[in-house]
């Protein structure tokens, strides 16, 4: 069975506890390059947007450097995130259970996961984060190019640049909010951060939060190795 949400490198290692490989070294490196860029962009962007944060330009060597370097970090982020997109888009396709999961969001927030449908490698919340990031990064790179005066000034009118910078600001604020959700979820759901550091989570974590994925992994592993292990229930 070709599970839609089992990604390359995902594997289950029986033991005590069961260990599950969730992200390959490549995916983790890709993630952290993107993460670093996003944080640097947020800091430099906020410095240029809010006068009270202007002092943060000192971290980049002053205002001139911040202005010059911000777009380049954006380019790195765009390509880095594109790598993540290629890795993760398939497992983030919307499934019927995602609607149900989202409709029962209150049980997510109250830690009553037994009232939620079983989900694959990503739950609806993660998928919303993934697609929001994807769309917002496209908006940010497009509007960013319009206001990158150093290389693209003659290509657009001043009025177009005004709209671009407004959209850029709105998208930036939104992506920071999405980022807060993303980081908070990783902290709140214990055992999650290991997925992006060591690449592994425990079987209990996979069972609790991504049971469908876990089951598919076990089944897949069983059929791959033809050991005849039968999935429980």
């Amino acid at each position: 069975m070709a599970a839609y949400d089992v990604e390359q490198g995902d594997a289950v290692h029986p033991g005590d506890p069961v260990v599950v490989d969730r992200y390959t070294p490549g995916a983790r490196a890709n993630h952290w390059i993107t993460a670093t860029c996003l944080v640097l962009l947020a800091i430099s962007g906020l410095a240029l947007f809010y006068p009270s944060f202007f002092f943060l330009t000192a971290l980049f060597g002053g205002g001139q450097w911040t202005r010059a370097i911000h777009p380049w970090i954006g380019v790195v982020l765009f390509f880095s995130f594109f790598g993540l997109f290629l890795r993760f888009w398939k497992a983030n396709l919307w499934r019927t259970e995602d609607g149900t999961w989202l409709a029962r969001l209150r049980y997510v927030l109250t830690n009553e996961e037994d009232k939620l449908p079983e989900v694959g490698k990503y739950n609806a919340g993660q998928k919303v984060v993934f697609w929001s990031m994807s769309i917002l990064i496209i908006i940010l790179i497009c509007t960013g190019i319009v206001i990158w005066d150093q290389y693209f000034y003659p290509l657009t009118s001043i009025e177009q640049k005004r709209w671009a910078i407004l959209l850029h600001s709105l998208a930036a604020v939104t992506i920071i909010c999405v980022w807060i959700v993303h980081v908070y979820a990783a902290i709140w759901l214990r055992g999650t951060i290991g997925a992006m550091t060591s690449g592994q989570v425990t079987g209990g974590w996979a069972w609790k939060h991504h049971r469908k994925w876990f089951k598919e992994l076990v089944t897949g592993r069983a059929s791959d190795r033809t050991t005849g292990t039968k999935p429980v229930n």
Binding site: P17, Y50, Q64, R162, I165, V173, I176, C177, W207, K215
Partner: protein
């Protein structure tokens, strides 16, 4: 009444600088204490009807501000350079206009440059503290040491005036010769103008002078002659006397009702506050949720279930 605007000769001794940090009423991306005194608002009045297009003002501007315009390209028109540049803070814009009523060809020559708005869009848009300042006499000036070259001033300006230098990545525009005004002199362009098409004085004086000029123009058949001091930006400290004040756009697209673009106002206003509120709310909700429901921990029975499923071998 004749109104003479012979500017006083340049002082050579006892030079007193009477305009400084203490006279700022606005400072970009920061606040200033309200000044202890109010300087008399000043203005430059450009009488388009008196301009002969000699470009002495352009030369005087380059000379005084110690700028060197590179040798450009002749596009077959009188405008040279064809646009404002980081060097040329002012350019004469020549328009050949056929008056539909008289069928006369009118040569309209407008000296373009910073209008020194009472409500400056450049200053509103600028993110660098103190890079753009406004003095209580109305002069809007750039402080190049603080400029970061982002080009936001270009987006804020309703007149398309500031230009970013490709050499030092800083924004440049007319200073209204703030350094000359500070010592009681008028701008270099006004000093150089051979026909007194450019005059400088207090804003009140300039308005009065404009009234005389408009009367004169109307007596010569320019019934729509008038003063260009657009209220949309709170008035300007560079004003024009136009023969056809009802149609400013014929003067090389001088905007009819300039104002800071609503897009810029929204970007620098509501977006900033709503953005801060949204980001703050998301962070606060995260903290609150953590305090209320605590961390979501994997339980031992989850690990047991996982072991059962994975096969405990």
């Amino acid at each position: 009444m004749t109104f003479e605007f012979e500017l006083p000769p340049a002082p050579t001794q006892n030079i007193k600088v009477d305009m400084g940090e203490g006279d700022l009423v606005r400072r970009s991306a920061s606040t200033v204490p309200s000044p202890a005194r109010q300087l008399t608002p000043v203005a430059k009045l450009i009488d388009v009807s008196k301009c002969i297009g000699c470009k002495a003002c352009q030369v005087a501007c380059l000379e005084w501000n110690d700028r060197t315009e590179r040798i450009g390209f002749n596009y077959g028109v009188y405008d040279n350079p064809v646009d404002l540049t980081p060097e040329s803070f002012t350019v004469m814009r020549f328009t050949e206009w056929v008056n539909p009523e008289s069928q006369n060809l009118e040569w309209l020559i407008r000296k373009d440059g910073c209008m020194h708005c009472e409500d400056p869009g450049c200053l509103k848009a600028c993110p660098a503290p103190g890079a753009i300042v406004q003095y209580s006499n109305g002069i809007v000036d750039f402080d190049h040491d603080k400029c970061i070259g982002c080009g936001y001033c270009i987006k804020g300006c309703p007149f398309d005036i500031p230009r970013i230098s490709a050499v030092d990545h800083k924004a440049y525009k007319c200073t209204l010769c703030s350094d000359r005004v500070a010592v009681g002199q008028g701008p270099a362009c006004a000093r150089a103008c051979p026909t007194h098409a450019i005059v400088f004085g207090t804003k009140e004086e300039m308005k009065q002078h404009a009234v005389e000029r408009i009367k004169d123009l109307q007596s010569r058949g320019y019934k729509n002659a008038g003063l260009y001091d657009p209220p949309g930006v709170g008035g300007t400290h560079v004003m024009y006397v136009l023969q056809h004040a009802d149609k400013p756009e014929i003067y090389a697209e001088l905007p009819k009702d300039p104002r800071i673009s609503p897009v810029v106002v929204f970007w620098k206003g509501l977006t900033k506050y709503a953005g801060m509120a949204a980001m703050g709310a998301f962070a606060a909700l995260g903290v609150l949720h953590y305090l209320v429901s605590g961390p979501n921990k994997v339980q031992p029975n989850d690990e047991e279930d996982a072991k059962r499923l994975a096969g405990d071998r």
